[in-house]
Amino acid sequence: MQINIRFFALLREQLGCEHIEFDYQGERTIAALRHTLAAHGDAWLALINGNTLAAINHTLCQDHAIISEGDEVAFFPPVTGG
């Protein structure tokens, strides 16, 4: 399944990566995708530390959300300061 992954803000800087196009073969949930990506290296563990938001096609979603062919999945840190 071809998907399009984008990383924003601090996360993009930490991973040194803005965008991946990816033929994803794993289980079709955000949770499973997070685990697949986290295996890429230490910085990527940020995706499973509970403090990264995910959005499918610009809509925020929970970890059990289902990814479909052609989706854009985005990850970014929550904005909590002020």
Partner: protein, 251 residues
């Protein structure tokens, strides 16, 4: 209901000239009461814009005092205010900006009793705080009082704005905060680039004015997010969570 004086009409001529605003809209601002929780970077910028724009009554809530590292982005304060309470220091410039402004200050950190009392009287609330715990309190209080609020955040080189309005199909802050963990990250550890608080505080003021005047569209469940390093904005949709502990009535 207070009416605009002639000198006020002149002062606000550029807003009164706007289609959809007019003298009526400016009078709605004059008669509005807005609570600002948090007088850090966002609070200073938002309060400044609302005072200049002609909001008649502001209540400021913050128990903190001005420290040196605040001065690089909290634009209502300067060196002479070091160690003073922020809500007191903020009064000087806000009154100079708008001598007609009614200003109430609460030199304490927000708690649910105070929030409920203020939201009972006020038209809406602006969240300029820097932590999730207070936002959860604001959320509960606003849901109970059936009042809108505008939440802003700015940290590192990122910022976002979201408006929460009382409507059956509208998500609440709980629908957002349940999507991430409990680890707090504040500006002290993470830093923040100065203009971000000006951008987001002013975006909050824009939403507040639209809500008060019934101007334009408040998009329910939309988050405006800026990635400052890229200089780009993105609109995200926040769905209403089916099992949200904060906004779903227990049957």
């Amino acid at each position: 209901m207070q009416q605009l004086s002639e000198s006020q009409a002149m002062r606000y001529a550029r807003q009164v000239a706007l289609p959809g605003m007019d003298l009526d809209g400016q009078e709605k601002l004059l008669n509005a009461h807005v609570v600002i929780v948090g007088m850090g970077g966002l609070g200073c910028s938002c309060a400044q814009m609302l005072a200049a724009a002609g909001v008649g009554h502001l209540s400021l809530v913050d128990g903190d005092t001005v420290s040196r590292s605040n001065l690089s982005r909290q634009v209502l304060f300067n060196q002479a205010h070091l160690e003073q309470l922020k809500v007191c220091a903020a009064q000087t410039l806000l009154r100079a900006l708008n001598p007609d402004l009614r200003l109430d200050v609460y030199d304490q950190f927000a708690n649910e009793a105070l929030l409920a009392e203020l939201l009972g009287q006020a038209d809406l609330l602006v969240d300029c705080t820097d932590n999730r715990a207070v936002r959860e309190q604001i959320n509960r209080t606003a849901l109970a009082a059936n009042k809108p609020w505008v939440s802003g955040g700015a940290i590192r080189m990122e910022g976002q704005v979201m408006s929460f309005v009382p409507a059956a199909n509208a998500p609440c802050y709980g629908c957002y905060s349940q999507l991430f963990g409990d680890t707090e990250s504040g500006c002290a550890e993470n830093g923040v680039l100065t203009p971000l608080v000006g951008i987001i505080g002013s975006m909050q003021a824009l939403e507040v004015i639209k809500l008060i005047c019934g101007l334009g569209t408040i998009h329910i469940g939309k988050i405006q997010h800026i990635d400052g390093l890229a200089g780009q904005w993105r609109e995200l949709t926040l769905p209403k969570l089916a099992n949200c502990k904060a906004c779903q009535p227990v049957l």
